[in-house]
Amino acid sequence: MTKEQENIMAKPKIATTSLAGCFGCHMSILDIDDRILELVELVDFDKSPINDIKEFTGECLVGLVEGGCANEENVRVLQDFRKHCKILISVGDCAINGGLPAMRNTISLQECLDEAYLNGPSTQNTSGKIPNDPEIPLLLDKVYPCHEVVKVDYHLPGCPPPADTIWEALVALLTNKPLDLPYELIKYD
């Protein structure tokens, strides 16, 4: 088989990541239960916490992004996903509107850090300093929805989106069929 034939035969690849999320959306992906066996017939998993592949090995057809952008690392990962994925999907409310982490958006970053590391009622920090190690990604001024950072092709709302919503969307994309989700499958909670 030539390299070209191999490429044609190869299954499309899918990548997933959790940015400023709680991994609940990934739990919902796993919630497709035994349909995951059908999914691996349709796709190969590239970079994803599900298989623990840390870096992209090539171009992907679909990227599923959970969580919004709360720090510079989130932005870098999201830009990397945009670069490697033909179709980028925001999965869940955090990716779509910032979600719970965005509750800090009405409070200044300095106030948040002061409360967490200096003034909080349960804070024990004898150094009196706010952590500032180069290893720790810097926080952004606020939490951004993914589509305010890169172009996002589709949005699957929900906290988390039901497994059926994710499944139906993926199958429609992978089999090139129109997606017509029933009323029950698009919810914001």
Binding site: N97, G99, I107, K142, P145, E148, P157, K187, Y188
Partner: protein, 237 residues
């Protein structure tokens, strides 16, 4: 047919109403749903949210305030109007702090249900995350969360016209416009009662009754399985 009967058309369908009715009232009876947020059965029309905007003989009008007239041609369910309504609902979402995932009203919220019905997966406008919205939880049975208020004035009208109390009114103008509590700053200082209509009519999670949060499980809430407006569409003959 009495001489008060008025015949007109909505999306090519002949509709009959009685003189004095608004387009929305006549449409409701005929089983045609016109989306709305500030309009509420039993309250004076207010015409502020513009979600019920229809085209009457080619001109934009709010269906909740515009009276019916013989022979008018009303356009309601067109892609142009749906897009306009989607934009309005989008703007309401990004203008406030609407966190559906933990809001007590989720599943029973008219703003959310309207977004579902209009097929909004994500707003097209950037989120504003306003920092100036407070929560007044001073009252023992009711709280008001300004983060979720969409300024529909249902509470203002219900308190004034149904409860006879004038607990709520608007203060400020433009982006500074807010719902405020009558004469004093705190809800506890008013004569608001938990049984007041003003508490019941809030379409979103801005005015909520305490001690009953999340009492209806997910799957059994008003809009979990039934789109908003389905009750009106059931009137269709």
């Amino acid at each position: 047919m009495s001489e008060n009967t008025i015949t007109f058309e909505i999306d090519g369908v002949e509709v009959q109403g009685t003189a004095g009715q608004t387009i929305m009232q006549a449409a409701d009876v005929a089983g045609i749903y016109i989306p709305r947020l500030c309009a509420f059965d039993g309250l004076e029309p207010f015409g502020s949210c513009r979600v019920c905007t229809v085209k009457v003989n080619g001109r934009f009008q709010s269906a909740c305030t515009q009276p019916i007239a013989e022979g008018i041609i009303v356009e309601n369910d067109s892609e142009e109007l749906l897009e306009l309504r989607r934009n309005l609902v989008d703007m309401l979402f990004v203008e406030g702090n609407h966190f559906c995932m933990f809001c007590e009203k989720s599943g029973n919220c008219e703003l959310q249900a309207l977004a579902y019905r209009l097929g909004i997966a994500a707003p097209k406008y950037p989120y504003m995350f306003p920092a100036d919205r407070n929560v007044d939880a001073t009252h023992k049975d009711v709280f008001i969360d300004h983060n979720r208020c969409i300024l529909c004035a249902r509470c203002v009208r219900a308190s004034r016209d149904l409860d006879g109390k004038n607990v709520f009114q608007f203060v400020g103008r433009g982006p500074q416009k807010r719902i405020a509590v009558n004469s004093r700053a705190r809800l506890v200082d008013t004569d608001l009662n938990v049984t007041d209509k003003a508490v019941e009519v809030c379409p979103v999670g801005a005015i909520l009754t305490k001690h009953v949060g999340y009492s209806i499980p997910v799957g059994k809430r008003k809009y979990d399985h039934t789109p908003i407006g389905a009750d009106i569409e059931a009137n269709k003959k």
